[in-house]
């Protein structure tokens, strides 16, 4: 990460930073398709694609 040792203790902000962004994007995705069609649908699909993409990213970058 930032050159610190792998064992340093993370802050709550660090631990929940990525999960919070993913959760907010999921909520945007859940609501936007309710609000409209067309662009709102695309936004919804893109936002709800983030959770699966995060898993793919972790499987490629963080397996050890």
């Amino acid at each position: 990460m930032t050159g610190k040792s792998r064992n340093h203790v993370r802050s709550l902000r660090h631990i929940f930073g990525a999960p919070l962004i993913i959760a907010l994007l999921s909520l945007v995705g859940l609501v936007s398709a309710l609000a409209g069609d067309g662009a709102a649908d695309w936004l919804s699909w893109a936002a709800l694609l983030v959770p699966p993409l995060a898993v793919v990213w972790a499987m490629r970058k963080h397996r050890r």
Binding site: A18, P19, L34, G36, W45, K61
Partner: protein, 388 residues
């Protein structure tokens, strides 16, 4: 977070999960094909999903047959039955008329007739059999009616508490780990924990929303009864104490619809409930109007029309708990953003299945270990495995 706090949240997570997991596994498995029920119905040739040309049956476009005439056709072929519902479609001229032996008959005794409002022909009956109907019943109430529905609602609530407690435990577990860490080569248990945590945390918001909206949907019957006893009774106060309107004196539906359209031009009906059932008073046609925008179309507004004279009695917005119920349906079913949204729904449903399954395996693997050992496992980020 102190060891005592972790211990409390660990026990909450363990017990809420253990109680609901079996039922949640069933809900995820049955829910998966239900996401695609429109597509599956279309493939298997259900009459209500076959494309029929013409204006939508919920509109008042010219060329659509009169509702009174359609009802007459259906009743002529259903001797001894009375009408209970009429429901419309926003895409095709197809609609349904539901009949039953009595105005207050239970759902099991009802017959759903499918009609084409453009041609005026009865195209078939909606089948209450088949695999999809079986899955829907299992998913909704496990064939146990209201008690089954409420029971699954409680399971959904426990699932929500399990999500909450799991999120709390995520913090001490990840204290020394980066987001997305997957330790796949050390032990099977460590691999399962890391995947359980990663899939659980990325799907958290979706699982929370689909879980909570499922709980609200499970409470649909008591919520509707509350509305019927409270708001609806208030709207039709002038009729209180009068004997129920017998089906022989039901007036024209077209006249009732015209009165509603005059009061609310632009709003189309989703369905009409006949007097005496669970959705109206004993004297009124209840016309449930959809909103006019995509955001508000799910929220129905009841217009109560005197069932005999066809004169409008009252139109009143739904109370907040019925609005919450209206939005809980699409948000639970995932059917409001075309096929890509359904596919994402299915992926996240599979994530949920995986989280439930690995949770079960993690418990089975070390179920004889004490709570203290599990707390140490959480605290160490999985490095100190729970001892037997």
């Amino acid at each position: 977070m102190t060891r005592g706090t972790i211990r409390v949240w660990y026990l909450v997570h363990k017990w809420t999960s253990l109680i609901c997991t079996l039922f949640l596994l069933m809900l995820c498995v049955t829910g998966l094909p239900l996401i695609f029920h429109d597509e599956i119905d279309a493939l298997s040739g259900e009459p209500d999903s076959m494309a029929a040309g013409g204006p939508p049956s919920s509109s008042d476009a010219p060329g659509l047959k009169s509702l009174d005439a359609l009802l007459g056709t259906v009743l002529a072929n259903a001797p001894g039955q009375v009408p209970v519902f009429m429901a419309f479609d926003n895409d095709t001229p197809l609609m349904t008329i539901t009949t039953a032996p009595q105005p207050d008959s239970s759902g099991a005794d009802m017959t759903i007739h499918v009609l084409d409002r453009a041609t005026g022909e009865v195209t078939g009956r909606e089948s209450e059999e088949g695999v999809m109907h079986f899955l829907l019943q299992l998913h909704t109430d496990m064939f146990m009616g209201l008690p089954g529905m409420l029971f699954l609602g409680v399971m959904g609530f426990l699932f929500f508490i399990a999500l909450l407690s799991g999120t709390v435990l995520y913090a001490p577990f990840m204290r020394k780990l980066d987001f997305g860490t997957l330790r796949v080569s050390r032990s099977r248990r460590l691999r399962q924990i890391d995947y359980h945590n990663l899939l659980g945390i990325v799907a958290l918001a979706w699982m929370g929303v689909v879980g909570l909206t499922g709980v609200i949907n499970a409470a649909a019957t008591p919520l509707r009864q509350m509305w019927q006893m409270d708001e609806l009774a208030e709207m039709t106060l002038a009729y209180a104490g009068q004997p129920p309107l017998p089906p022989s004196r039901y007036g024209s539906i077209d006249k009732a619809m015209a009165a509603v359209r005059a009061a609310r031009p632009g709003n189309n009906p989703q369905f009409i409930a006949f007097p005496g059932g669970g959705f109206s008073s004993k004297h009124h046609y209840a016309v449930f109007l959809q909103g006019t925008t995509k955001l508000t179309e799910h929220v129905l507004t009841p217009a109560l029309v005197d069932g005999e004279s066809g004169v409008l009695t009252d139109i009143r917005q739904m109370p907040w708990y019925m609005v919450a119920l209206s939005y809980s349906q699409p948000l639970h079913f995932g059917d409001y953003g075309a096929l890509p949204l359904k596919i994402l729904w299915a992926i996240l449903d599979l994530f949920t299945l995986y989280v439930l399954w690995t949770g079960l395996l993690l418990w089975l693997g070390k179920r004889r270990a004490g709570a203290d050992a599990h707390v140490r496992e959480v605290e160490s980020g999985g490095l100190v495995a729970a001892a037997e």
